[in-house]
């Protein structure tokens, strides 16, 4: 169920403003790819084009190609709703539905599109997803409590459980730990390591230690200045990027000389 993503010559716009220019990269199945770069370089924007979430902002559009297993997501006959069912997403701030219980949150995606599921299947899926998100032990006795009663780190793992409950091909994570304390961050990082066995994972992070800890490949993005588009500077194995980057600006960024 894990799939390859190919991005070719992708330009991303907000109205007339070109936010990301000319990105081409390939993301292999069952790998973790980290997007790093200074604020405003377009890494989150790019991430959101991989499940067509970018276009929910009025005026936002892309040109170029993003293919999952060879099928371009931006072909006219592709329904963005179906793309998003195939590509799960975890956000910067934990966002469980506050009006739903823990259990209902996990099942939220499954019940979309009039999806019906028997009670025992539902219970199994809740257990499996919460175990997959390393949350089962902590919440198994209070599945009917509101999702918002959990701590921030638990909420984020609940969101991961919700995303993997629909068995997506790809999991996108937009700075999933930036609102969490170090211990919760560690829990999420361990989880990413396990999820990699089943999913293609793309993670945006501001934390370079995190990128070096969790990712197999790292893509560095940069902008030449305010108002100019972000570009992909280089992408390589994480070890290479952090030890022998090809580009001077990558080296400056990871060594903390700017950004």
């Amino acid at each position: 169920m894990s799939k390859r993503i190919e991005v070719e010559n992708l330009n991303v716009f907000y109205g007339k403003f070109l936010a990301v220019e000319g990105v081409s990269l390939t993301i292999e199945p069952r790998t973790v790819t980290a997007f790093i770069g200074p604020s405003g370089c377009g890494k989150s924007t790019l991430l959101r084009t991989l499940n067509r979430m970018h276009e929910v902002i009025p005026g936002a559009r892309v040109d170029g190609r993003v293919a999952i297993d060879g099928k371009n997501l931006y072909d006219l006959d592709v329904d963005p709703v179906l793309v998003r069912r195939q590509v799960g997403m975890v956000f910067q701030r934990p966002n469980p539905f506050p009006t739903m219980s823990i259990k209902e949150n996990v099942l939220a995606g499954v019940k979309l599109n009039n999806g019906r599921i028997s009670r025992s299947d539902a219970d199994d899926l809740v257990e499996k997803s919460l175990k997959g998100a390393n949350l089962w032990k902590e919440v198994k006795d209070r599945l009917d409590r509101p999702g918002s009663s959990l701590s921030g780190g638990q909420q984020q793992r609940l969101c991961i459980a919700r995303a993997i409950a629909v068995s997506p091909d790809v999991l996108l994570m937009d700075e999933p730990c930036s609102a969490l304390d170090p211990i919760s961050t560690l829990a999420i990082e361990d989880l990413i390591e396990e999820l990699k066995r089943d999913y293609t994972i793309v993670i945006v992070t501001h934390n370079m230690q995190q990128a070096s800890r969790v990712s197999d490949r790292t893509a560095f993005f940069n902008i030449a200045g305010t108002g100019l588009p972000g570009r992909l500077i280089e992408v390589d194995d994480t070890a290479t990027i952090f030890e022998r980057p090809t580009e001077k600006s990558t080296e400056d960024y990871i060594s903390g000389r700017f950004g």
């Binding site: 979430m53 929910v56 179906l82 539905f97 506050p98 009006t99 939220a108 918002s148 009663s149």
Partner: protein
């Protein structure tokens, strides 16, 4: 002994002003309640013979009025609520921005029309216009108790009143719902979208559950207006003191407020007290309805998203 931190002047002024405003509401409410109780008391303790002398008979007289008030308001809500939620959703989540703005203004304008104008519209336009429809309903689905005949010749029935009331309470429910729906955190809408929700599913998963308490509050404000509306009902309805669910007949249960307005000029002695006592009943109904709404809202407080 340590000295207490010095209170800032601005804080103290603001605290006093806020507390004063809060207290004022309670005082106004208490004043109305005391007035109603004091003036209603003579009618409540009077014997039936005494009341008869002044042309009323309180205890048998009140239940039909309560029924009429609640029935007309309930029907109005039945029409207005789904429509209001629909319009509010359209404005907040479906319409292009420019159209949404225009629609918003139009809805707010509806709220500014005085109820006497609605009453005139009800008599002169709506009642004649719906007569053929009522006749058709009675002739074709008259077996259904609500639509039982004989049909009213004027169209001035409780159903017409309910439609007028619905139009009157529509703006306030719509405006409040719209504001609540616009407050849905984008984070929750994006969560639903990212799971592969269609636009309607986003509304179902994120917008409506989040707005639930707001919808109930808006409904209560609308219901309050419908329960207390006087002019439009007094003008449109051909009133009787009966309990009847039939929507299309010429005998219709009237409402407390309309009844007070129509009877007050001719009432004397205990008759006045009896009318005021019906006002006290209306006050109590409104109070109970609001309390019920509070209970409903609080029951799922943990899931409200406010924590």
């Amino acid at each position: 002994m340590t000295a207490r931190a010095k209170a800032r002047l601005g804080d103290r002024v603001f605290q006093a002003a806020a507390m004063g405003a809060g207290l004022l509401i309670l005082v106004a409410l208490a004043a109305v309640a005391i007035f109603l109780i004091a003036k209603a008391m003579p009618a409540l303790v009077a014997s039936p013979e005494e009341l008869k002398r002044d042309g009323t008979d309180f205890w048998p007289y009140v239940p039909p009025l309560i029924f009429g008030t609640v029935w007309a308001a309930f029907l109005a809500l039945l029409f207005a609520l789904p429509l209001a939620v629909g319009i509010a959703l359209f404005i907040s989540h479906y319409a292009p921005r420019k159209l949404a703005q225009g629609l918003g203004y139009a809805i707010d304008l509806l709220a500014a029309i005085p109820s006497v104008v609605y009453g005139l519209w009800g008599i002169l336009v709506l009642a004649p216009a719906v007569r053929p429809l009522y006749e058709w309903l009675v002739n074709n689905v008259g077996w259904f108790p609500l639509f039982a005949g004989p049909v009213s010749g004027t169209g001035r029935t409780v159903l017409t009143v309910a439609v007028v009331l619905a139009v009157m309470i529509l703006p306030i429910i719509t405006a409040l719902c719209r504001e609540v729906f616009l407050q849905t955190p984008p984070l929750h809408e994006e969560a639903a979208l990212a799971l592969g929700a269609t636009r309607w599913e986003v509304v179902k998963m994120a917008v409506l559950p989040f707005g639930r308490a707001g919808i109930i509050s808006a409904t209560m404000l609308g219901l309050g207006r419908a329960l207390g509306e006087t002019m439009a009902v007094a003008m449109v309805l051909s009133p009787s003191i009966i309990i009847s669910f039939a929507l299309l007949q010429s005998q219709n249960p009237t409402t407390i407020a309309a009844n007070i307005a129509l009877k007050f000029p001719e009432a004397t002695g205990l008759g006045i007290n009896a009318l005021i006592a019906t006002g006290l009943v209306l006050f109590a109904i409104t109070f109970v309805v609001n309390a019920l709404a509070r209970v409903v809202i609080n029951r799922r407080k943990e899931f409200s998203g406010a924590n």
